[in-house]
């Protein structure tokens, strides 16, 4: 029993960048959004690495990466991730910001997945991050799953252990640092990944060359998608005034600092 693993993942601004909201033509956006350096959305990245490892361990499996984003930025992103793991890219040309409506994003992605030639739905594992670091809603993956008729869904997953019969055991993060353990009869299923258990793979130029065979045509053929803010009416978007007046305590004996901390903890 092999898997057809479809990973949904796109780009987000590098978290080390300063982000500032502004009013765009159709709703809030980020200042200089097109210029901000982007990275692969971290949890989607974990999903991609887990997908590649799972595919390598279950013979006959295959991985697609479905990405919705501005074509030019997707191309840049591919430069940094195409050398990591093997996948077939399915690109959808459209915006990829946090203020876009998850429902419209899900519709565009589900449409793109529906159009993948050779994808067998009864073998499909729909992978993605448990949340994006832009919208951070944990909604899109479930909506794609529903649109594709997938009714076994898992969120904040750290482990998927396949069995020989195609079933698998799943560990999902729940409250208070605990895991919920479930057994699923097999594909199709949606798996929204948390960190998983794998380190980021090192760059492998051979993998990069192999991926480029599908990446460039996929980018050229990327279909445009109409994705906006939907029916959401934003009345205010702001960066909170978070600067505190930091008191810096230095050249002070350890005893004094410790006593100060204890008084604060007990106060």
């Amino acid at each position: 029993m092999s898997f057809h693993i479809v990973v949904c993942g796109s780009l987000v601004p590098d978290p080390l960048q300063t982000l500032e909201p502004m009013q765009g033509p159709t709703g809030p956006a980020l200042k200089n959004e097109m210029m901000l350096p982007a990275v692969l959305d971290p949890w989607a990245g974990h999903a991609l690495f887990e997908a590649a490892t799972l595919a390598a361990n279950v013979p006959g499996s295959k991985v697609w990466l479905v990405s919705l984003g501005p074509k030019a930025k997707l191309q840049q992103l591919m430069m940094s991730i195409a050398q990591k793991v093997a996948f077939d890219l399915v690109a959808v040309d459209g915006p990829a910001g946090g203020f876009l409506d998850a429902f419209e994003t899900a519709e565009a992605l589900a449409g793109a997945i529906d159009g993948i030639a050779g994808l067998e739905k009864d073998k499909m594992l729909l992978f993605g991050g448990c949340a994006s670091s832009s919208r951070d809603a944990s909604v899109t993956m479930q909506l794609i799953g529903e649109r594709l008729g997938i009714t076994d869904q898992f969120l904040a997953v750290d482990e998927l252990k396949p069995e020989a019969d195609g079933s698998f055991q799943i560990m999902e993060r729940i409250e208070a640092g605990e895991y919920l353990v479930s057994k699923c009869a097999g594909a199709p299923a949606m798996v929204g990944w948390a960190t998983g258990n794998l380190p980021e793979p090192p760059n492998n130029p051979q993998v990069g060359m192999q991926n480029m065979r599908t990446v460039m045509p996929a980018l050229q053929q990327a279909k445009p998608a109409q994705v906006g803010t939907g029916d959401v009416n934003f009345t205010k978007v702001e960066v909170p005034q978070q600067r505190r007046e930091t008191k810096i305590v230095k050249d002070t004996p350890v005893e004094e600092i410790a006593a100060d901390i204890v008084a604060w903890l007990k106060g």
Partner: protein, 332 residues
């Protein structure tokens, strides 16, 4: 005001979690006619615990299949409750169980959903909510046209509701068929690894400095372990970590009570505690965005130019955290 359906699931003991009771208070305060929908193996005790909430009806989906947290049965239960109550707004706590199942249920009901709601109020008669974007970097206030509008509320928005009595539950039948997922159970960390304590007053964050070579050229993992565990034991604080520290863990240098579940920040958690103490941590933005809901913040670092000094902490102690925390433990 909109007709509201408040939905909650029971915990393993058949009670309502605190987050649900807080959400109920918030729903009552901002919306109109209230219906309650409960999901669980047996929902009578949960219904009784909120019998005085003023609901027009308390609906229940119950049975063994609904005792466990599972997407297919939860989504079906929510869908049935919404179809029965026909609300304009659906409000529920942002628990792991509902975070997983509510979006799909909203889709099935032809509604829209917003999650991680940290504020809910009326502006000119209109229902508005507040949530964060870009992992706690920006806050937005928004409303939606679509109905039913599903909202998952974060904890701490209101006082927990109390008003027990004896409730009449109207059973809503939901067919359980084609269940392909079997819930095995909850796996708690070993007791000495049970370091994540959401209800704790204090968050203690350990950074990568604890595993770094110190001034004398030594790496002091044993000392670090003893000091950190000693502090957690004495204060019952919750343990958080930076990404750098847990990534090292993955590479094998271990503080064996620490895992990536402890990570706070951009790709970790955003816990809620009244006080936070960061140690051996540089206070970089991808870490400190996870401190959005920590009220009082202090840090101990050797570096006077670290992120905490840039308006991110109330007090920054420039000192050796090994020495300071050893002394703190002695004083506690």
């Amino acid at each position: 005001m909109e007709k509201v359906l408040f939905i909650a699931h029971t915990d393993a003991d058949g009670n309502l979690p605190k987050a649900a009771l807080e959400t109920l208070t918030a729903a009552k305060a901002t919306c109109g006619d209230l219906t309650v929908g409960l999901i669980g193996a047996d929902v009578q005790a949960a219904a009784d615990s909120i019998a005085e909430c003023g609901a027009e009806a308390i609906l229940g989906v119950s049975g063994d299949a609904f005792g466990a947290s599972r997407y297919s049965t939860d989504a079906a239960a929510i869908e049935a409750l919404v179809k029965q109550a026909a609300p304009e707004v659906v409000i529920a706590p942002n628990t792991a169980r509902f975070a997983r199942s509510m979006p799909g249920a909203a889709f099935r009901c032809g509604g829209k959903i917003d999650t991680h709601i940290t504020g809910m109020f009326r502006e000119g008669g209109k229902l508005e909510v507040q949530r964060w974007y870009y992992r706690q970097r920006m806050s937005a206030t928004l409303s939606r046209e679509a109905r039913p509008w599903f909202l998952l509320l974060e904890g701490g928005l209101a006082e927990a509701f109390s008003g027990a009595g004896s409730a009449i539950v109207q059973t809503v039948d939901v067919a359980v068929d084609n269940v392909r997922t079997e819930v095995v159970g909850v796996q708690a960390p070993d007791s000495d690894a049970q370091t994540i304590r959401p209800e704790a007053e204090v968050l203690f964050v350990a950074g990568a400095g604890w595993m770094k070579k110190q001034a004398d050229g030594e790496v002091k993992i044993k000392d670090a372990e003893e000091i950190i565990l000693g502090f957690l034991d004495k204060t019952q604080a919750s343990l958080g970590s930076t990404k750098s520290l847990v990534d090292q863990e993955a590479e094998g240098d271990v503080l064996n009570f620490m895992s990536h579940m402890n990570q706070v920040g951009q790709t970790g958690s955003t816990p809620r505690h009244n006080k936070g103490l960061a140690t051996c941590c540089h206070g970089e933005e991808p870490h400190t965005v996870g401190w959005r809901f920590i009220n009082e913040r202090r840090a101990i670092s050797l570096d006077a130019n670290c992120g905490w000094a840039q308006g991110k902490a109330d007090v920054l102690y420039i000192a050796d955290a090994f020495e300071v925390m050893k002394k703190v433990n002695e004083l506690l």
